[in-house]
Symmetry: C2
Subunit: 430 residues, 2 copies
Amino acid sequence: MARTIHAALLGAGTVGGGVYRLLERREGEMVNKLGAALEIKTILVRDAKKPRAGIPPEKLTERFEDILSDPEIDIVIELMGGIDPAKRYVEEALAAGKHVVTANKDLLAEHGFELAETAAARGLDLRFEASVAGGIPILTPLMTCLEGNDITEVMGIVNGTTNFILTRMTNEGTDFADALREAQALGFAEADPTADVEGLDAARKVAILASLAFHSHVTFSDVPTVGITKITAKDIGYAREMGYVIKLIGIARSTNGEIEVGVSPMMIPKRHPLASVNDSFNAVFVHGDALDDAMFQGRGAGAFPTASAVVGDLIAVSRDILAGCNGRVRLNPYRGLPLQSRGNAAHRFYLRLRVEDRPGILASVAGVLGNNDVGISQVIQKQRTEDDAEIVVITDRVQTRHMEDALTIFGSMSVIRDVSSVIRVYSEKP
Amino acid sequence: MARTIHAALLGAGTVGGGVYRLLERREGEMVNKLGAALEIKTILVRDAKKPRAGIPPEKLTERFEDILSDPEIDIVIELMGGIDPAKRYVEEALAAGKHVVTANKDLLAEHGFELAETAAARGLDLRFEASVAGGIPILTPLMTCLEGNDITEVMGIVNGTTNFILTRMTNEGTDFADALREAQALGFAEADPTADVEGLDAARKVAILASLAFHSHVTFSDVPTVGITKITAKDIGYAREMGYVIKLIGIARSTNGEIEVGVSPMMIPKRHPLASVNDSFNAVFVHGDALDDAMFQGRGAGAFPTASAVVGDLIAVSRDILAGCNGRVRLNPYRGLPLQSRGNAAHRFYLRLRVEDRPGILASVAGVLGNNDVGISQVIQKQRTEDDAEIVVITDRVQTRHMEDALTIFGSMSVIRDVSSVIRVYSEKP
């Protein structure tokens, strides 16, 4: 009879339920896939008395201790999210010699390296494919298939909620507040949407991707983040006129031995593969010196897509257990690249200015930009009301501090009523 | 001092040279990545006296025996292509206890399972990520990250040459012969383009993808193949009018316990992610019961993209060597699903008929289709010359044998001058 590998689930919510049901679906085949059966033996929940469809009540426990002290349990699957108590549970599981599979981006983006080191020191696996881009295989490919590359760019749409909202705003002309309400009604956005719409969720994923791609220490707090709450239907319209689509982009680049990371709305040229990734889909675009360009797209969230990644990790850990070779591959910051200082980062920008409508204003705006070394690539001027006009500029690639200097001067000019929008424009790596 | 893992290259052509140079670029980092150095010790070539830029002549040999009998060589990298002598060399390498990394789709599509079995029986790794879609990680993700899924569809653009030609025909209105000549001039097509333009290269990749995705035995000869040589600018124009793009698609589906495989030109709806994969790019679209839809795109050929996949495999084999756990994962046909008989496969079709221009012809055509259970989804009728008209039909999903019956009747009708084109139209899995 084939051996059985036992795992425990921490959390029986949407993803936990998905993992449990997916393993049930594959039960008859697992021995063929692995040479062993794979069984969820125990599930940690807050209320073990609450009935859960399809889950035998005798598997439920409210005490983590029951899992920790069970020598039969080889793998702990952490699906609680958040740092506390997830971090403590993961540390205790590793200390007890149990492998860990987790979908927890908060935890990995802040404590990934120390947890990876703890696991490696004990010859244990710590896998977290589900923590970035849900069902899309991206972390495992970065750590194996693409490991021969010098990866210089990883960028993507890694938050489905904001992509859904921006797609609605782009296709239907909806404004942000209405699109958000629709996303909430459809279950794509939470009651408190802050982590999604302010880009915090995407920033955690960027920290994890950058850490893996550049073999360097990047954490959540290193990622400057701008959300989508200030994007207007007007900006989306101008973007379209100029050949762009606005997406919330997480970006990680290595240039001249420095790392640039960030999350912000970005104008993407219509022909770029990321421009046509719509609705709640995620996509990650990778550039490597051998690979050239590649893109991975799919479902970035949801019970089953996330369960797909978790079960993939479970299968990998189980194969390692059966072959006795856990702990071979790990998050390894051997390159130790520093982060680029923000002012030196060079970007293209889209500016929308509300100005007095009188002769010479466009020349003054162009003059200020020119004096601050900000080259202009495209310009549109539009009448708004009788004495009110709008100037839209797309700049060349300029250093952020030069752009900020020009914006400071705009702020002091009486003919400029306000700087309505500043949005980064995608440009190829230099 | 760190251990050195030694490998041998069979072939120092485009890809072999790329692998050698890529490993040189990563030389300083390999110990960090692996915990060991990785060195190409010997290279099998036809003429060891011919100088090769960047490759030390003392590494070259004309005798495979030198590699086989060298106990220091752990891994043989087969990049010769073709069945003979590649198959013999791979078999002999495995028999000598050496792991094998190969980019050889011809070999894998015909003898993949027997080679995989030989390797597994000896606890050796046999990896072949580069054999499908060049640098795009797809086989490794299918065997690990996506292994928890019931994969029901794998389809894609897996031949860059034909995608380049069709993109030219679509965007510039070029005809097939001119686009082919351009592809040859640019080095995207070989002097003898048969394997590419007749779909044989794509069929080999479909066989490999289907074998992995469905855990069943599918070989090259199982894949019915239609090339792109008969696609005309006219068909591309009608496709555009009806909202489609024509691509050469390799498809593998499992439906009701049967496998459908094939390579053929296909009309893809403009909104499908594959429709915007252009030029020499490849893309593979995967549907799994948990994953839902995902797509992987990138460079399907070229020295460095292919080297990216080969070196990824080398790193994986080396990690397994260092941990003593080779032979864990293999091509395993445990499901043994049968192939669907061709006549039962249900597809949508595009037909272009040249007919006499007189009243009632459209009704006769519609009548024949209706009598043969072929539903009509879209129809266009166009005047061509004074007495010559053209009828273009897109059908509903119909059984292939019903379509073939209708085509036989069309062949016997004097008012139908010829059936100019029959092209499959993409439809969602039923």
